[in-house]
Amino acid sequence: MKELLIHLNKAFESKARLGIMSALMVNDKLDFNALKELLDLTDGNLASHLKALEEQGYLEVQKQFVGRKPNTTYGATPEGRKAFGEHLSALEKLISGNR
């Protein structure tokens, strides 16, 4: 049991971070507002989760301007995809191990 738990990634422990990564697995890019709507978080809360994932190297951030408004889009890096995939298989193993 213990060795299985090692593969569970600490970065994905929170529901919000897991949600962000899940959404970015099936969407190439999402902007801040789209993520906010999907996850139902406050600006500050979402920003801090995004920052944490970015610091892990799991997210790539692109800042640009749409007209005069700043627009930030987020996408998963290859490392982020790999880490998320490993996290998923660890979860699956936990489930099959419990049976």
């Binding site: 422990e13 929170s14 529901k15 897991l18 949600g19 899940s22 959404a23 697995m25 099936v26 969407n27 999402l30 789209a34 709507e37 999907l38 998923l88 979860l91 699956e92 936990l94 489930i95 419990n98």
Partner: protein, 211 residues
């Protein structure tokens, strides 16, 4: 920060988020049912008004009288079709907005816009193509063309909404191709494709996702 949830619950959450962020899931089956009902009403009105026989190919022979375009017929059939479209769109919007509200989703989110855009391209192309058919006097091919292009629009849009829409799209394409070999039965195929099939798939989707 740690929330206690079992691995199974976590996997469910992941799956839900993936679906929710990539597909417009608020599409209501009732939208389809009512679109179908309006289409059937429109077809019945046309049948009665034009005294059509179910078994004899006709509709496009009405388009011409003595080799000239029958304006009255064209006006009637266009008005009929536009009223059906308006009714179907209004009902579609109503039931889908209701379902979206119930699910706490926004009606004009990212997924809804993607769904609309992916359907709009085949629909606009099909619409222009039908105008060209009318322009060239090929009225018989208008019904097959509308069914085929609508089916293609559904097939394309199904990537961004409930999976069942894909099968409705394939059905419409099949009906369209079939009807292109039975020119003159256009109204019958319209009633089948836009009426019966919408009601059938709409009911199916309603019982599957909304009950």
């Amino acid at each position: 920060m740690k929330e206690t949830s079992t691995p199974l619950e976590t996997l469910h959450e992941i799956r839900n988020m993936m679906e929710k962020s990539s597909r417009f899931l608020s599409l209501s089956g009732l939208s389809g049912v009512f679109a179908g009902i309006f289409a059937l009403i429109g077809a019945v009105v046309a049948f009665v008004r034009l005294n059509f026989s179910l078994w004899e190919p006709s509709y496009y022979s009405y388009a011409y009288s003595n080799g000239r375009l029958n304006r009255e017929f064209i006006q009637f059939i266009l008005t009929d079709a536009l009223l059906v479209l308006a009714g179907a769109l209004a009902a579609g919007y109503f039931f889908t907005a209701r379902k979206a509200k119930k699910q706490g989703q926004s009606m004009w989110g990212l997924t809804a816009r993607r769904l609309l855009m992916s359907m709009l391209v085949p629909l606009v192309a099909g619409g222009l193509f039908c105008l060209a058919l009318i322009y060239h006097g090929s009225f018989g091919f208008v019904a097959p063309a509308t069914l085929i292009f609508y089916g293609l629009a559904l097939l394309n849009g199904s990537k961004y909404t409930l999976h069942d829409v894909r099968y409705l799209g394939i059905t419409e394409i099949g009906l369209g191709v079939l009807s292109s070999f039975f020119i003159g039965y256009g109204l019958l195929f319209w009633a089948l494709g836009f009426g019966i099939m919408h009601i059938l798939y709409g009911t199916l989707m309603y019982y599957k996702y909304e009950r």
